[in-house]
């Protein structure tokens, strides 16, 4: 068995250290070692987007990142986006707009949508659909998700 290595990364703004095996994915370490279970394991092969987190500001599927690659990186997970116990506007719009049913895909959608709004504060519907194409939802049919992102961007009711 390859030896565990000690990794330092900033996770949701806080410096964290963890030990991991080379073969462990960032998703495994987030969920099993750091108890950040917001990111979900859907397909574990990069198709579904349920494990999306931001790595140095870029959305990535954490199932296709080795935990070792996080050395020195900044990682944001869904646990980090609600500041001071207050839901982020994006989360509030998902909630009020019923943009989820089972909720497994939701943390991934929130992280990709956050990355989008960080870069493009007022995206078109086409842009939202294109940029969220890497997140799959088997319940909602996407319309409510797209409307929730639009509402969060425009500060309106979903």
């Amino acid at each position: 068995m390859a030896k565990k290595k000690l990794i330092s990364a900033k996770i949701n703004g806080e410096p964290r250290e963890f030990a991991c095996e080379p073969r462990q994915s960032l998703l495994e370490v987030l969920r099993d070692s750091l108890q950040l279970t917001g990111a979900k394991e859907g397909c574990n092969n990069g198709n579904c987007g349920a494990c999306t987190v931001l790595l140095n500001g870029e959305p990535v599927v954490s199932c296709l990142v080795l935990a070792l690659e996080a050395e020195g990186a900044e990682i944001e997970t869904v646990e980090g986006i609600a500041a001071g116990g207050q839901l982020q506007p994006l989360q509030q719009c998902f909630l009020e707009g019923a943009a989820l049913q089972c909720g497994v895909c939701t943390p991934g959608f929130l992280m990709t949508a956050k990355a989008l709004l960080d870069r493009v504060p007022h995206p078109s519907e086409a842009e939202i659909r294109f940029q969220l194409a890497g997140n799959l939802c088997r319940c909602t049919g996407y319309d409510k998700i797209v409307r929730a992102v639009q509402a969060a961007a425009e500060g309106t009711n979903p």
């Binding site: 073969r23 198709n47 987007g49 199932c63 296709l64 080795l66 070792l68 940029q131 890497g134």
Partner: protein, 292 residues
């Protein structure tokens, strides 16, 4: 996942030594969007994963002194399409990098990895081929360059030997009065593997006549295939829809596709015609917009 060791060398020399070491079964990790899936599903075996993202030259993305492009092998797709200068000069490559997987994949997946994996359906290979891109390879016996068009030798196979590392892809400068485009057909809107694809490049002379054409088809042979007869039919002609349709019909004949779950031979050939026609129209439009 299977057990392996991990190394993240900071120089190409060190990476080549690790890859060449007979004591390991080493694989290269760049974006990880293919190799980590293959390792997890045990379709590939490795005792050492060599992460090449800490090597400076593999991360370099810059215009060269002569106006070409140096594209480090570990540069992810999203860095490429965010560069306005690359969109302006190498639009077909940008067309491809924008539709490889979704955003999360584009944050990590590299054009270098797309080339090395040598999938017949690789989206970035037809655009690289129309630009006459060159692959720079470092190996135990030094460096060499070869045309990207000769890099893939079969389905999932390339010319690299043990210890070889793809350092960069170098795109030569392009003529001012030229334009290019890439399109693929998939049954979904996004996030799928090409049933067929086409990249076209045209260069116009002072009178607006086509003086050079390049058409490369993807997913219709074991490697990307050049539609030479279609190219020849375009040279010396003024661009028109009829001419593009004629080129499309000729391109269909260059395709040597197979029947599989993504499409039949007949369907793929038909798609080659359609995609050739459409990419030529966009390529000409882009060339004309630059010259007006």
């Amino acid at each position: 996942m299977q057990d392996f060791d991990y190394a993240a060398p900071i120089s190409t020399h060190e990476a080549v030594q690790l890859l060449a070491d007979p004591g390991h079964k080493a694989v290269v990790l760049a974006g990880g969007t293919d190799i980590l899936v293959l390792l997890r599903e045990r379709r590939r075996r490795a005792t050492l994963v060599v992460d090449v993202k800490k090597i400076a030259e593999l991360n370099e993305l810059a215009m060269t002194a002569d106006g070409g492009l140096f594209l480090g092998a570990a540069v992810p797709c999203s860095r490429i399409y965010r560069e306005a200068a690359i969109t302006e000069k190498y639009a077909a490559l940008v067309d491809a990098t924008k539709i490889i997987g979704g955003w999360q994949i584009q944050s990590r997946a590299t054009v270098g990895g797309n080339l090395c994996n040598a999938s017949p359906a690789a989206d970035s290979i037809p655009p690289l081929a129309i630009y006459d891109a060159v692959a720079e390879i470092a190996g135990p016996n030094g460096r060499r360059q070869m045309p990207v068009a000769d890099f893939c030798s079969g389905v999932g196979k390339n010319v690299m030997a043990r210890g070889d590392l793809l350092v960069a892809i170098i795109l030569p400068p392009i003529e001012a009065r030229s334009g290019a485009a890439f399109q693929r057909f998939i049954p979904r809107n996004e996030m799928d593997i090409a049933v067929a694809s086409a990249a076209s490049l045209v260069e116009l002379d002072d009178q607006g006549i086509i003086c050079k054409a390049r058409i490369v088809l993807g997913a219709v042979a074991t490697t990307a295939v050049r539609a030479s007869h279609a190219e020849e039919a375009l040279v010396g002609q003024p661009p028109s829809d009829e001419l593009f349709a004629q080129a499309g019909a000729l391109a269909e004949r260059s395709a040597r596709p197979i029947d599989d779950m993504r499409g039949t031979i007949e369907y793929r050939k038909h798609l080659c015609g359609v995609l050739t026609r459409r990419t030529l129209a966009i390529a000409v439009e882009r060339a004309q917009s630059k010259t007006q």
